[in-house]
């Protein structure tokens, strides 16, 4: 009669309780916002955070970015602790592990520090708001839809993901698999999910391996910026160019060369700057008491317009942008 999974009930009370929202409260000034990205030297996270910090200035508050140089949850935890100690008004976090950062975040919320997850969510009760770049379901399903159109609903595909434990990617992949179950895709087959560990060389090598192992492979979806760039680079310089479709999520700057040389026809991404900005405004709204994170609350995110808090405190930025030859030159990030 020991302690088993079934014998314990970790009672998860929603965190956003107690206070009442006052939608008309003005945005406070002089708020201290701290961005805690997955990893500070990740270019994509940099764009997000810098946009968020810039946005904070718009409402006369200050923002800073701190974080580890390795994408580890344990490193993030020490940062959360010190941020709590520093009495920041809000912590904005892109979680490396939804659960590992939970304890300290709850501790922070107890001290009346608002917590906003962005880009990569934490467990639901460890933050007030999650700014989702796009609905996870939408991202997952559209990636399949896009590549299916490119392949005329026929052929083998593979996924080149980040690490085995990447939360975002795993969520998206589960929706992709679900989408593939639909009859429209009966002639398509997902042969393998490979992991490039968000490492250039490893992703590169995994791409080669996939193409060797599955000679009939027609498409690769890489829902991670490092992966898609590596896959595109390998294919662009190999005999597979033009025969294998690459799609997924990437930044325009990274992918420009491969779109131009025809290796990649299209890929998608949300605007990371908007993501940062929205997160910043959401944090300010929380800290000012405009919202508490309950479903249905509304707040205004500067020139991005009005947003509504959805189920489980989720705020969705909007559908991702699809980049192709025609529009890629209009973006620089």
């Amino acid at each position: 009669s020991g302690t088993t999974k079934d014998s314990v009930k970790n009672d998860d009370k929603p965190a956003a309780s107690g206070q009442k929202a006052n939608p008309d409260a003005p945005l406070k000034k002089g708020l201290k916002l701290a961005f805690l990205p997955k990893q500070i030297n990740n270019p994509y996270e940099q764009i997000v955070d810098n946009a968020g910090i810039a946005a904070a200035k718009e409402f006369a508050s200050s923002g800073k970015e701190v974080g580890p140089s390795d994408a580890k949850a344990s490193s993030q935890v020490s940062y959360i602790n010190t941020l709590t100690q520093q009495r920041q008004n809000a912590i904005l976090i892109a979680a490396n592990d939804p659960n590992a950062v939970c304890g300290p975040l709850k501790q922070a919320m107890k001290q009346n520090i608002k917590v906003v997850a962005y880009d990569s969510d934490t467990a639901k009760d460890c933050r007030q708001i999650f700014i989702n770049q796009a609905s996870s379901e939408q991202i997952g399903r559209t990636q399949i839809q896009h590549i299916a159109q490119q392949l005329h609903y026929k052929g083998q595909i593979a996924i080149l993901s980040a690490t085995q434990n990447a939360t975002n990617q795993n969520t998206w992949i589960s929706y992709m698999k679900d989408e593939l179950k639909k009859p429209a895709y009966k002639n398509m087959k997902l042969v393998k999910v490979a992991y490039g560990d968000d490492d250039d060389q490893k992703s590169f090598q995994e791409t080669q391996g996939l193409l060797k192992a599955y000679p009939k492979l027609k498409g690769i979806i890489s829902p991670t910026t490092v992966g898609i760039a590596a896959a595109a680079r390998y294919i662009s310089a190999s005999s597979y160019k033009g025969k294998v479709v690459v799609n997924g999520l990437g930044t325009p700057n990274q992918m420009r060369k491969y779109v131009k040389d025809g290796t990649v026809a299209q890929f998608a991404l949300w605007d990371p700057k908007k993501l940062g900005k929205l997160a910043s405004y959401a944090a300010a709204a929380l800290a000012s008491g405009q919202i508490t994170g309950a479903e249905g609350e509304k707040f205004k995110a500067g020139d991005l317009g009005d947003y509504t808090v959805g189920k489980d405190g989720e705020v969705i930025l909007g559908p991702p942008t699809v980049f192709d030859k025609s529009n890629i030159d209009r973006f620089n990030f």
């Binding site: 009669s1 020991g2 302690t3 088993t4 999974k5 079934d6 014998s7 314990v8 970790n10 500070i40 800073k64 701190v66 974080g67 580890p68 140089s69 390795d70 580890k72 949850a73 344990s74 935890v77 020490s78 940062y79 602790n81 010190t82 100690q85 520093q86 009495r87 592990d97 939804p98 659960n99 590992a100 950062v101 939970c102 304890g103 300290p104 501790q107 467990a123 690490t163 085995q164 434990n165 939360t167 795993n170």
Partner: protein, 337 residues
Amino acid sequence: MTTLTKYVRWDTVVTVLLVAVFLAGAGSTDGFADTSNLSAALDDTAEIALIALPMTLLVVAGQVDLSVASMLGLSSALAGALWDAGWTFELIVPVCLLVGAAGGVLNGWLVTRIGLPSLAVTIGTLTLYRGLASVVLGDKAVADFPDAYAKWAAYTRTVPGTFVPYPVALFIVLAVITAVVLHCTGFGRSLFAIGAQEDAAYFAGIRVKRVKIALFAVSGLVASFAGIVYTLRYGSARADNGIGLELTVIASVLLGGVDFDGGKGTLGGAVAGVLLIGLLGNLLTLNDVSNEVQVIVTGLLLIASVLTPRVISAVSARRATSDRPPDQTRIERPSTS
């Protein structure tokens, strides 16, 4: 040589530095000396500190175990998988510890029976154990660990009357035991002998192989225990838990003045090294010093840790005999091979 080198040893320097960092932090930085901050900072070093204990013994004996972080991950992943499969937690812990000890014995066996250098062996098992972790748990993350246990690992619960969280308290007890074993027992003495001159230790009747296997086994055991602590503390079992931690552990131990060539070092120094890296990191973070700078500081400290004693002894040697270059005085020192 002269009094200077006799009394100014690096482990004392590290301890002084540690105290200095603490005082400087308390004086200059709001919140640093708060008990809640100290508890959190200490708790954050819990796994590193725990693993550093057997690592110190290993390094003194001229060995190294690079697979500890992977073993931590494997233990964590295993705990997660078994928990998910409905095992009772009370059973999971001994199983994990057993796996850890077994992994350690494998390391020790490869080192002693096959005669491979421990650096090479444990680079291999570093890959293997991490790989097994991913076999065991795959891309899953298990999170719903029992509160009854998790709360013991959290920094918010401390030993009554102190700011010491329970994992750290456990560490302190173990550290005292390890210090006594290393510095006051025959076993500890034999580790120094093995590290300094293995053949001579063997000829003196010390069971070198057995001692080494035991050390690796303890190292694996403690690493797997640290894996449990990690899992509970972060409330998350994943195959990649603690990745890359081995270098931090080794850096801490070396920073404490334990000689990588074996045969020299103190446990106090190693503990001071661990705490110095932990507290300094916390202090710098509180002062918004970026992570990159912290990494540089760690590196510089590490270099200083080996350079300073040399400089001190060179200076004191030069003082002893004015015109003799320092290296000439060292020439007679037998080199450990």
